[in-house]
Amino acid sequence: MDNLRSVWAIAYTLFIALSTYALVYFTGSFTRGVVSIMNIIILITPLVSTMMTSMYFFNKTDFLFLLLAQPIKRSHTFIGMYMGIAVMLALSVGFGLALGMAMSAPRIEDIQVLLLLMLTGVLLSFIFSGLAFLIAIATRDKLRGIGMALSLWLFMAVIYDGLMLMYFIVFSEYPIEEHAIILSLLNPIDLSRIFIMLQLDVSALMGYSGAVFQKFFGTGLGVGVSIGAMLLWIVVPQFLFVYRARRKDF
């Protein structure tokens, strides 16, 4: 609750809301603006989640001494901290999208698209908060931890797709459809993009990996696989950071 009152949470919500409203205004409808809004969600949400979680963790190090000295398990303390920041970020994205849509006189058919974007934003908030927590637990130095978190976002948001494209071009003569699926599963940003594209009638924008996903799994199973993979991206880092937290010296 105290995180929700943070100025940064309110600023983040308003940023999402105003961006959504502006994009809907310039494209004429929510459904037409969804691809642009999607790009904001899949790029900005991981960045904000990563940075805010890293700063939150490192700013709370001294407070951690007091918390960990209480009769409470370390795992409970860290999962509580993670949920506190991740839920705040997820709610900010959700409310921001809903507010932006509400300001732009939505139609009934826009609700489904809104829910789709909200789900994506929520999942990405939890994923990148967890990854940032894992990085923060593993490092002592604040600057190094924040730098590593920022590098992770840069790699997943920008560099990874470039490397994937190079791979597809170099090995275009070979059967690499399965590789495309595996490579997509290894990047939650790509997964979220595929998840949205599979549910919208924008097959021209799917790209190679999205098209392969649809071909292999079909639309329904493809959505299920992408959500399942994103849930794994939430759960696995949590296990790892709890494992690491149990053994760390504070």
């Binding site: 105290d2 407070f63 000295a69 010296d249």
Partner: protein, 233 residues
């Protein structure tokens, strides 16, 4: 009672604690002294399981320090009173009370430390001294049999320091075990039954302050400690 048996801790190549044997008896006030970097805070963190020793065992009332149960009997005041900045002091106290599962009334302690006008303010806007006093309230609120204080009087104004020392003596009369670190010798002389002097990771003296003063033939504890440091150098 807290018992440390052959406790060692190394940070990289730096051996911070070397084969420490220490017993903190029930109902006693024991002060851990030592220069900066001697391992005092590390020793406290080992007792609280914030830091894992490389070797040795630590028990709190017979329970291993690695167990959550061992911390039910301990209240802790950290060296630096930095908390979540966007919550109020009273909200912090409620948070810690909820974690400990104890519904304790902080009113008397809040009045004792003159914090009445500050409890609803966010911790981020309080002065360092006020945050230290909030930390002190948390340390004494839960009536824990063991109270561990890491440099507790740093940042306190003179009136609060006097009140703090009086509170320590009152808690001692009630049979509490108090273990604290300090650089302020006058505080140690006023409240400690026993001192343990830590130098380069080893305890070089353990006993009553007056015995150390007598054995070093110095006028006060501060000069006795200085004499000890020169002798060990």
């Amino acid at each position: 009672m807290i018992t440390l048996n052959s406790v060692s801790k190394r940070w990289g190549r730096n051996e911070v604690l070397r084969d420490i044997d220490l017993t903190i008896e029930e109902g006693r006030v024991i002060s851990m002294l030592g220069p900066n970097g001697s391992g005092k805070s590390t020793l406290i963190k080992c007792i609280l399981n914030l830091v894992r020793p490389n070797s040795g065992t630590i028990t709190v009332n017979g329970i291993p320090s690695t167990s959550v149960e061992s911390r039910k009997d301990i209240s802790y005041m950290p060296q630096v009173a930095r908390f979540a900045e966007n919550i109020s002091a009273i909200r912090l106290i409620q948070l810690i009370s909820d974690i400990r599962g104890v519904d304790a009334d902080p009113t008397q302690l809040i009045e004792y430390f003159n914090l009445e006008g500050h409890m609803s303010k966010k911790l981020g806007v309080l002065s360092g001294g006020s945050r230290q006093k909030v930390s002190a309230v948390l340390a004494f609120l839960f009536d824990s049999p063991i109270i561990i204080l890491d440099e507790p009087t740093v940042g306190l104004d003179p009136v609060s320091r006097v009140n703090f020392k009086r509170l320590v003596l009152e808690e001692k009369e009630r049979g509490k075990t108090i273990f604290f670190t300090s650089h302020i010798m006058s505080d140690v002389e006023e409240v400690a039954d026993e001192i343990a002097f830590l130098l380069e990771g080893k305890i070089v003296y353990q006993g009553k302050p007056e015995e150390l003063i007598k054995s070093t033939n110095q006028p006060n504890l501060e000069q006795s400690i200085a004499h000890l440091l020169k002798a060990e150098a």
